[in-house]
């Protein structure tokens, strides 16, 4: 039986706090890309140009049904083959942003489809432009039902950032593995990583559900 060494925990704490910051940065950066990209992907699927609609639809399916880990490797290693060298951070953010962008586009699609047809017809009858219809009529109504899905994927992207460690992004998992290699101690580093993830994702999930309820209340959409 192996004993738990508290002194190692205190020794490692500063490094892990730093790494946790980077994990949050990766999650935040990836999510920002995903939020915008998801919107582009969903709008591209709603054009009347069928080849584009079809291509984007298949692209989203491809991204959603293949492992993120593989996509991370793909983005990181494919660039250099064509002379474009990406840093681990850039490649990691692109891969994770792309992956979650595909997921978010489905969330947005659900939101947009939940807007009653009459709203579109009314916007058309009032001669609103497409941009105005989306900005003022559709998106404000499509957003509340999408919040729960968006929140889930925010927590999801946070929990998937350890996959960036494989290309050398120095987030939590990478740090824990490095500590293990230096000190031959695996118990404390990996347990600490797990504890940090729990300590962030549980309150985050709780806050998101509170936020969702608050939005529903403020918009007068109480269930």
């Amino acid at each position: 039986m192996i004993e738990w060494r508290w002194h190692l925990v205190w020794e490692l704490a500063p490094r892990f706090v730093d790494a946790a910051g980077k994990t949050l940065l990766a999650a935040g950066g990836g999510y920002s890309i995903a939020v915008v990209l998801g919107l582009v992907l969903v709008l591209a699927q709603r054009t009347r140009f069928h080849p584009l609609t079809f291509a984007v639809r298949e692209f989203v399916e491809l991204i959603r049904s293949t492992p993120l880990l593989l996509q991370v490797f793909f983005v990181f290693y494919v660039g250099p083959q064509f002379g474009l060298v990406l840093s681990p951070w850039t490649a990691g953010l692109i891969a994770i942003g792309l992956h979650y962008g595909a997921y978010l586009s489905e969330v947005y699609r659900g939101g947009i489809e939940s807007v009653p047809a009459g709203q579109w017809e009314a916007a058309k009858a009032l001669n609103l432009s497409v941009v105005r219809t989306y900005r003022r009529i559709v998106i404000p109504q499509a957003l509340p039902p999408a919040i729960s899905g968006m929140g889930n994927y925010l927590v999801g992207i946070f929990k998937d950032t350890p996959m960036l460690s494989v290309i050398g992004v120095t987030e939590l998992m990478h740090t824990a593995t490095a500590v293990g290699a230096e000190s031959y101690r695996y118990l404390e580093p990996y347990t600490m990583v797990g504890a940090i993830f729990l300590a962030i994702s549980l309150p985050a999930a709780y806050l998101i559900s509170r936020f969702e309820k608050w939005v529903r209340r403020t918009l007068g959409m109480v269930k």
């Binding site: 491809l62 049904s65 492992p67 993120l68 350890p162 993830f197 729990l198």
Partner: protein
């Protein structure tokens, strides 16, 4: 080197890897289903202790990353004297993780079975066990199969992580090929296509067929 030549040279390795990916996926799915049913039912128990255990399990496995859990099972458990082969550690970690998500689907589906069904089973003087197995679970299964379709795809994707503990699955093989040849587009691109084909043309149709079969079976075709 053309792509055809690439496939001729490395195709058999990738095929071996694909077989291992499929095996890992099937075993992980079995683990996930068992865990999901077990903890999903425990979450609905009247005993607060049993409920508490299930809640803690689900929150821990859903609140941390699959990769963290995989490394914990593979690197930390041996320190406590529990040595798992990497192959077993791989599908076990994926199954335990996805089972926690599945447990919530099981719980939600059982709660979604109309109250009248419970009352009717009670009125017919069925035992608790019989009511669960013959009345509630079959209907819950029909309700939860569509979301399980998504979860099963997640299990397939999750198995790619076992490559990081050196299980020679498809992900592992293409990484080796990439290191040896630097033909990243060919290696990783092929793997992307294989995973896509597995998900889109094997897993999804099977799940759809299962959905249709089950809803016919309880007379909701």
């Amino acid at each position: 080197m053309t792509y055809i030549e690439f496939l001729q040279v490395h195709g058999s390795r990738m095929a071996d890897g694909t077989v291992l990916t499929v095996v890992q996926f099937l075993l992980a799915t079995v683990v996930a289903v068992v865990v999901a049913v077990l903890f999903g039912l425990m979450r609905l128990s009247r005993n607060p202790g049993v409920r508490g255990v299930a809640t803690v399990y689900i929150e821990i496995f859903r609140g941390t990353s699959l990769l963290v859990q995989l490394f914990w099972i593979f690197f930390v458990l041996p320190l406590f004297g529990l040595n798992l082969d990497k192959f077993v550690a791989g599908f076990l970690a994926v199954g335990l993780n996805m089972g926690a998500y599945g447990a919530e689907l099981v719980r939600g589906a059982i709660r979604a079975v109309p109250r009248g069904q419970w009352e009717a089973a009670l009125a017919l003087n069925m035992t608790d066990r019989k009511r669960m197995w013959r009345v509630i679970l079959p209907q819950a299964l029909v309700i939860m199969l569509p979301p399980w379709g998504n979860l099963v795809i997640e299990i397939l994707k999750g198995t790619a992580l076992v490559a990081l503990i050196s299980v020679a699955d498809l992900m592992f093989e293409v990484r080796q090929i990439n290191i040896a040849t630097f033909l990243s587009v060919q290696a990783f691109g092929t793997a992307l296509i294989v995973y896509y084909v597995l998900a889109r043309f094997f897993v999804t149709p099977v799940m759809r067929a299962l959905e249709r079969f089950m809803s016919r079976k309880i007379g909701r075709a």
